[in-house]
């Protein structure tokens, strides 16, 4: 069932935020519709196209809804959502790392459940699989920076702002991530 959010289709983000804080379900639905692709790229890009990614995506928006009363509009809503998505995804990566280390398995052994029903386009599916596999073999701190550049095209400054890191750190992580990526891609 496709939810109609026509009432707010032309509304700016701040209008949607205010209406959502007042409990307007349609307004929050519009926010979800606007930013779900961005969240999907972040979460699925960093975790892989797993069934857990969908749950995590929902968690991102639930957390967003809970924190909206504190959103003052100092940063763009997309930046704010991206921060939440990255924090939740990084927490999940850490949780998995702990879980897998308990069973003496490496992070590389994480379960990959590729959703075959997601697309019929085999080439795109293959491309996504390569991107996912490559990203998941990167160290998490490089993975975030690389994913933000590769999957979303964020500038260095935007990445630094979202991750609360100095620009220099982002650049050095990007460079080291690129080095790791070269080795990973050779193996794939």
């Amino acid at each position: 069932m496709k939810r109609s959010t026509g009432k707010y289709s032309d509304a700016d983000d701040m209008t949607l935020v205010k209406a959502s804080v007042d409990g307007d379900k349609t307004a929050f639905g519009e926010i979800v519709n606007r930013y779900k692709s961005m969240v999907a790229r972040t979460v699925k890009g960093m975790l892989g196209d797993t069934v857990f990614a969908e749950d995590l995506g929902q968690e991102v928006f639930i957390k967003l809804y809970d924190s909206l009363p504190g959103f003052r509009g100092e940063a763009k809503l997309s930046t704010y959502i991206q921060k939440i998505a990255i924090n939740i995804t990084l927490n999940e990566i850490k949780r998995r790392k702990r879980f897998f280390s308990m069973f003496s398995r490496s992070d590389d052994d994480e379960i990959h459940e590729y959703d075959v029903t997601d697309t019929n386009d085999e080439e795109r599916k293959d491309a996504r699989e390569i991107v996912n596999k490559a990203l998941q073999q990167l160290e998490p701190k490089f993975r975030v920076v690389v994913a933000m550049r590769m999957l979303q095209g964020y500038s260095t400054k935007e990445t630094a702002e979202i991750l609360d890191l100095p620009v220099g750190t982002v650049l050095s992580r990007l460079a080291r991530g690129q080095e790791q990526m070269k080795k990973i891609l050779k193996r794939l």
């Binding site: 979800v32 080439e123 794939l188």
Partner: protein, 117 residues
């Protein structure tokens, strides 16, 4: 697009201090949409707004549990006070012996009861 081309695109996208828009767009085009499943928005909205309903049910339940507790506690305290008054009236004191119903029994009587002599 061939796998080799995808790998090249990935590496190109990471080159330089700033992203190359054309390379990023090509990579996005190659990987396609990372979208969530159909009905994602509805699931999110249902979770958020039904959570409020279930939370309010929980609060109502806790409030009624609180009321029940007070009612039971007040009745219990009233019963204890009545018991103390009745013990005091019948036994003349509130000692432990009175509570155990032994206030009027002399030690000799107990020995008589137990031994029959």
């Amino acid at each position: 697009m061939k796998i080799k081309d995808i790998k090249n695109l990935i590496l190109k996208s990471l080159t330089g201090d700033e992203p190359d828009a054309e390379v990023i767009n090509n990579l996005i085009e190659a990987t396609g949409d990372f979208s969530f499943s159909e009905g994602f928005t509805d699931k999110v909205l249902d979770k958020i707004f039904n959570r409020d309903v279930s939370e309010s049910h929980d609060i109502e339940f806790l409030q009624s549990l609180n009321k029940i507790f007070y009612r039971i506690a007040i009745s219990g305290i009233a019963a204890i006070i009545l018991l103390l008054i009745s013990i005091y009236i019948s036994q003349g004191s509130l000692s432990i012996d009175s509570f155990l119903g032994l206030g009027d029994i002399a030690d000799e009587s107990i020995i008589y009861i137990l031994t029959g002599n």
